[in-house]
Structure formats: structure tokens, C-alpha cells
């Protein structure tokens, strides 16, 4: 059903190439199942609420990924870094998009669909940093049980450090969590009416001037995050 709210059997048959008798049977079935509404006075059909069950909810978050993909790829190419977008899946982070730089300076062996515990990943720390404090506390209570006491002491420190960094600078930087010398910068991506997500980029430290490099990359990643958010909100209202 393309642009018109109401359509008659004839128009549907013409558009789909399905014989009219079959169309009329299928339309009756779809009406019976709640996917269509039939107006007797007009002799036409329109979509009904059951169509929302065909995947609307599942994909509403996927449009963030679609919007982010191109922006992430040019970010990866421009800065010679690996970029990933992730959301929460239970007590794990799950990667929904990854972009490698064409110059391949930094390659992290992670693919789409990869899971990692929230507490043990820079992505998870950024996500936690983006949540309201009460929700963060609630998640932390559940996460704690998955780690040994000594491990938790260390991770807890990483998390509060990341939360502090995010509140001051908007991003959190760390080194060595994704392999020796690999530095990561992560930002929370919080979009109205969407599940919270996080963006991360990973790079090999090239020269001295380390903190300056962190700072530039961090600020640029924050800009990327704002652009993803703006474009998603625009797309959502279109």
C-alpha cells in the first residue's frame, strides 16, 4: 500500500500483478486477522494496527544504525580509527555496527553481533555514564554479581572514572582495554525514545602528545554523536 491511505482491490491487483480474485481473497484474510480495515461505503481497504507487529519495534532502533553507518565510516577513514556502535542486551553490550578505516592503522578483531560484558568494556562504561544515576545504580547492582570481588573492585574504579570523564568532557578515554597500546575513546549515545547506545573508536597511539591526541579524538567523537542524534531525530519525524 503505497501513498494512499485507502485502496481498492482493483488498484492493488494492478500494482501487485496478482489476479483480482486472489487479491480479494487475500484482502479478506488480512482484514480478518486485523492487518486491514475494510470500508463498505468506499469499497476500499486501509492498513490496521496489527501491521505494527510485523517488525516495527525491532527496526525502530535499526534506523539509528542506518543513519550512523555512513557517518561512522567517514569518521573511521578520516582519522584512521576503528569505530563501533553498540547497545545493551541484558547485562552485555552488543555491537550493531563496526567500521574499519580504509588505511587500516588500527584494526580491532570485533564484528557485528559480538557481545561483551557491560562492566568490562569501554562501550559499557560510556553507556553507564549516559544513564540517569538511579538507573545506573540499578544496573550496577545486577552486574556486580557476575564478577569476582577483586575483579569488581578494579572494574568499579574504571566505571566511576569513565562516568567522571564523561561528565567533565563528554567522552571517556582509556588505554589497553582492547589490547596492548590500543587506546579507546567512547561516548554515550542517548536519543529520545530509543534504547541507550554508545559509540567507541579505537586507535594505536602514534607519537608523544598522547593526551592531546585523546582530546582531539574525543571532541570529534562527541561531534559525531551529536550528528547521529540530530539525523535520527530528523529521520524519525519525516
Amino acid at each position: 500500500m503505497a501513498d494512499d491511505a485507502w485502496m481498492a482491490n482493483q488498484a492493488i491487483a494492478a500494482r501487485t500483478g496478482i489476479p483480482k480474485a486472489t487479491v480479494s481473497r487475500l484482502m479478506q484474510t488480512l482484514t480478518g486477522l486485523g492487518y486491514l480495515i475494510h470500508s463498505k461505503s468506499m469499497g476500499k481497504y486501509r492498513l490496521a494496527s496489527a501491521v505494527l507487529g510485523l517488525g516495527y519495534a525491532a527496526m525502530a532502533d535499526a534506523d539509528v544504525v542506518a543513519v550512523a553507518r555512513a557517518l561512522m565510516q567517514s569518521f573511521a577513514d578520516d582519522h584512521g580509527v576503528f569505530v563501533a556502535l553498540a547497545g545493551r542486551d541484558g547485562l552485555d553490550m552488543i555491537l550493531s555496527e563496526v567500521c574499519h578505516s580504509s588505511s587500516a592503522l588500527a584494526t580491532v578483531g570485533l564484528g557485528v553481533g559480538e557481545h561483551m560484558p557491560i562492566a568490562a568494556s569501554p562501550l559499557g562504561w560510556a553507556l553507564l555514564a549516559g544513564l540517569p544515576p538511579s538507573e545506573r545504580g540499578y544496573l550496577l547492582d545486577h552486574i556486580r554479581a557476575r564478577h569476582t570481588r577483586s575483579e569488581w573492585m578494579r572494574l568499579r574504579q574504571c566505571i566511576s572514572d569513565a562516568v567522571h570523564q564523561a561528565s567533565v568532557k563528554g567522552y571517556c578515554a582509556s588505554t589497553g582495554n582492547w589490547g596492548p597500546n590500543i587506546k579507546t575513546v567512547a561516548v554515550p549515545l542517548i536519543i529520545q525514545e530509543r534504547l541507550p547506545m554508545a559509540l567507541v573508536c579505537a586507535a594505536l597511539p602514534r607519537t608523544r602528545a598522547k593526551s592531546k591526541q585523546d582530546e582531539q579524538l574525543g571532541q570529534k567523537l562527541v561531534k559525531l554523536m551529536h550528528r547521529v542524534r540530530e539525523r535520527t531525530e530528523v529521520a524519525g519525524h519525516g
Binding site: L26, V51, G53, A57, A58, M59, A62, R88, G113
Partner: protein, 261 residues
């Protein structure tokens, strides 16, 4: 159907059944799980899934083995929502309620034995609740479903309860007994509540609403994660605001032809 070919409608129904087996969730399902959830044969699931992938209603999951919902359903859902007057009228009222109560507010319609969210507004302070527009929840386990069933004319209510019993099997009587407790609450107070039944760690209060002309029954709820629950506040603040929002929504739509919903 006596004449013509019955298989095209059967195929259509099976294909819709496969899509509905996901309950609107982005989580991938295996072939075996689809067989289990739909009751169709292995071979028929293979054929249907391949067709649905080709049409964009399903995708292969990143692991290359499982299936997940594809972008096509999103487009159809958009198309439906764009033309929907309920969503336009409901969104500002629901967002206002969500912000003032600091809870999520949902409006759901019935889809066979499930409730599907037509609109869903989060308070700006809540980020992690997982439901959204298009998500389906079982009628019998959610307060929003119970409020809907309660508001039905007696004959339809009985038919729904019968079908729910039939679907659930051995656990049916216990589930229906819990629904009837909710009906008692609705008789007495005009709302019902569910705590941690469908979604662990969340609670919800729901009221039925009759929208448009002729009136069509839907249900409206407020929900939040469990740790924020304060029963006294729910009773004295949240429920009255929820009822008020329901009333304002039905006033706003009282002259709108409910065939447009």
C-alpha cells in the same frame, strides 16, 4: 473458502505467523525456535523464511544462521502510523503524563491475543525500559491486556478468556484466575496493576479507554522499573493522572471516525 485456491491464503497466514513469532523483538531466532513457536513444519518454515528474507521482511542475523526481523515491516508500520489520528492526538497528552509522573506511558490495541503498542512515551529521566511502539505483550500477563479484556462486552470477554485458556494449556486456570483478580480491581477502582509479571523488574498500572466514534476499546498504562515503585504515590498521583489522560484522549477523539484508527 469453497472455490479458488485455498493455499494462497494459507501461505499468507503462515508467513504472518512467522513474523509474529518474533513479538516485535529485534532478538534473532533459530529455525528450530520458529518451528516451535509457529507449529509449522521444518520444511514449511524453511520455505517461508527464505521468501521473507528475499522480500526484506526477515534478515539473516549477523551469525549467518538465525533470523531477525527486517526493514520491510518498519516501512509498513510507518505507513500505518502516518495516517493514524490516534497517535497524533495521543502523543502530546501521553508525553505530558510521562514527564509529570516520571514513568513510561503506553497506548495499546488488541491484536488477536496480544496487545500491540500504538504509541509509547518515555519520561526524559527513563532510558532503559525496553518496550516501544510495535512491541507486543501477551494479553493475559500484562495489566494493559487485562484492562482491555475487562472492558469488552461479556460475550467477547468470555471468548477471549476461552482462547487464552486454550493457548496456555495446563497453566490456564491459574493465569485466568489472576486475570479475574485484576477484573475485581477494575470493577472496584477502575484500574489494575501488574508487578514483575511480564517484564521482570517492572510494574504497570492500566486503564481501558474507549476512543472515537463508534467507540473502539484500547488501553493506556503507566510503567516504570520496580525500584521506583511507591504504592502510595501510584494510588494518589499516578492513577488519577492516568485516568485524567484517558478521559482527555477520549474527549479529543470523540468525533473522529474510529475506522480511521
Amino acid at each position: 473458502m469453497a472455490d479458488g485456491d485455498p493455499t494462497s491464503t494459507q501461505t499468507l497466514q503462515r508467513a504472518l505467523g512467522v513474523l509474529k513469532a518474533f513479538h516485535g523483538s529485534p532478538n534473532p531466532l533459530t529455525h528450530a525456535e520458529l518451528v516451535r513457536r509457529t507449529g509449522s513444519s521444518k520444511a514449511s518454515i524453511s520455505r517461508i523464511a527464505a521468501t521473507l528474507v528475499a522480500l526484506g521482511y526477515l534478515d539473516r542475523a549477523p551469525d549467518g544462521v538465525r533470523f531477525q526481523l527486517g526493514a520491510r515491516g518498519l516501512r509498513i508500520g510507518h505507513r500505518y502510523l502516518v495516517h493514524n489520528p490516534v497517535v497524533r492526538a495521543a502523543k502530546p497528552l501521553m508525553q505530558q503524563l510521562a514527564d509529570s509522573c516520571d514513568m513510561s506511558v503506553g497506548l495499546a490495541v488488541a491484536d488477536q491475543l496480544e496487545m500491540v503498542y500504538l504509541e509509547y512515551c518515555n519520561s526524559s529521566n527513563i532510558a532503559t525500559l525496553r518496550l516501544g511502539v510495535g512491541r507486543a505483550v501477551p494479553m493475559e500477563l500484562s495489566s494493559i491486556g487485562r484492562a482491555y479484556v475487562w472492558a469488552q462486552p461479556p460475550a467477547r470477554r468470555q471468548r477471549l478468556l476461552f482462547n487464552i485458556m486454550k493457548r496456555i494449556g495446563t497453566n490456564g486456570p491459574a493465569v485466568v484466575a489472576r486475570m479475574e483478580t485484576a477484573f475485581d480491581d477494575l470493577d472496584r477502582d477502575g484500574y489494575c496493576m501488574a508487578v514483575g509479571e511480564y517484564q521482570r523488574d517492572t510494574f504497570a498500572v492500566s486503564v481501558p479507554v474507549a476512543l472515537g466514534n463508534p467507540p473502539l476499546i484500547m488501553a493506556l498504562n503507566c510503567s516504570a522499573v520496580f525500584y521506583t515503585m511507591d504504592l502510595k504515590r501510584v494510588r494518589n498521583v499516578v492513577v488519577p493522572s492516568l485516568k485524567e489522560t484517558g478521559k482527555r484522549l477520549s474527549d479529543a477523539l470523540s468525533r473522529v471516525d474510529s475506522m480511521l484508527f
